[in-house]
Symmetry: C2
Subunit: 256 residues, 2 copies
């Protein structure tokens, strides 16, 4: 199983603390040795770091966990390969452009028969189920909305419907973002936590590391973290139910 | 003016030496303080690093110049902004998927009226002339070849024609790659150099740094480096002529 990590915040926030916990699971406290990746949005820009090497041993992962890249939306993934060999092109998150925005996608699970679904605009570069599912999903959105919709109600409904449809093919834990919204679909494991004032302290489950968020934040900050499993021992995580969708924007839950 | 750097090689080769020279031009020996980026192909995979901060001060640039990422095709760019503000989404190289391959593009120059050209499949995320030109170029390729062509003759001709067309709008020094080919179009400044056996020593123009390639290579290695201006003082660079195109694959010049 792979591990997912996402963040949605109302102010540019670094993800160093959560990422430090996640990267330990990549070959040290966990078995996910088959690469890792992370995408940061900064305004409309999106930069990502990918490494087919285990995150616990990756020099790039050390840079990312040390170097404070501040972002309002982050998607990260560490991989335990089941479909598709260990290689750079099979390393999540995947990115494609739609409507002049970069969309980013990471997935945990397997989808039986996904490669039978016909693709139109987007084609996978690698050989994973996941990238095929992402291309199919963006194809469907693009066919329904060749131009960006003026209101988001229909788009929200469509993405919920597409995620549920993909969920019928197997296990579909997903993080998806266009830089503004963060769509989280739970099949088996996904939990989230919103940090806001009054801020307290938190201790990682996977590393001997604590942080006092009251020292790091301003009273108006709202930061939501989503992960396959809770990352801290002393905070109240909301564990999502199978088939559930949660959508965040600027740190706040906008629909579920 | 921005600085371009490209590499094409027949074996995965690190670009640390050339990149060390280039990054000094980003705010130290040169005036290109407005961000930088680099894309490395590894098989079909492509990973890129982008930073809107000056390369001479960038922690990510230090990682890239120190950490030996081996690749057969590289495109890098350091930016002096003239169109489009300094931001992540305006930082080259730009990337889009076509035919299940990641295409990468970096440009130096300005193109008057480029934004009047209508786009179909690809849309810019940022506000630069360059990204609009890239989207238009891929659009034209995709319209001509909805499926990847079986032979490359027509594609080579098309890209040459499109680059010449863009060249009529202003200054169009370009590096473009699909991971196999590296297309180089010269408007004003572009020079290249092929290193192969017998290998010798080289000294950077911008930094006090030498390398003896005979210690770093095998006799079969063929590595071509393309840059806005020659990077070394003691090698025979081929300075390209205005309007000239050079295409490399596996380090070798395949057509010009």
């Amino acid at each position: 199983m792979c591990e997912l990590l996402g963040m949605s915040a109302n102010v540019p926030t670094d993800i160093c603390f959560s990422f430090a916990g996640l990267m330990r699971r990549g070959g040290q406290t966990g078995p996910h040795r088959d690469g890792w990746g992370i995408a940061f949005y900064e305004g409309k820009g999106c930069r990502s770091f990918h490494d087919p090497a285990p995150s616990a041993e990756s020099e790039i992962a050390r840079l990312v966990s040390r170097y404070s890249i501040k972002s309002c939306t982050v998607i990260s993934h560490i991989r335990r390969a089941n479909r598709g060999r260990v290689s750079l092109e099979n390393t999540h998150p995947f990115t494609r452009e739609l409507w002049g925005r970069m969309w980013t996608f990471a997935h945990n699970g397997q989808l039986k028969g996904i490669k039978d679904r016909i693709l139109t605009f987007y084609e996978p570069v690698g050989s994973t189920d996941s990238e095929h599912a992402f291309c199919w999903l963006l194809d469907q959105i693009r066919m329904q909305y060749p131009e960006p919709p003026k209101t988001t109600g229909g788009l929200m409904k469509l993405i919920r419907h597409l995620a549920a449809d993909l969920g019928t093919l197997g296990v579909f834990n997903m993080l998806l973002s266009d830089g503004r919204y963060l769509w989280c679909h739970c099949a088996t494991n996904l939990a989230w936590l919103t940090r806001k004032a009054p801020f307290g302290a938190a201790t990682l489950l996977d590393a001997d590391m604590s942080v006092d968020f009251s020292q790091e934040t301003t009273p108006n900050d709202v930061v939501t973290v989503i992960a396959t499993r809770p990352l801290t021992r002393d905070e109240a995580w909301t564990v999502m139910q199978p088939g559930q969708m949660a959508v965040f924007r600027s740190g706040a839950l906008v629909t579920r």
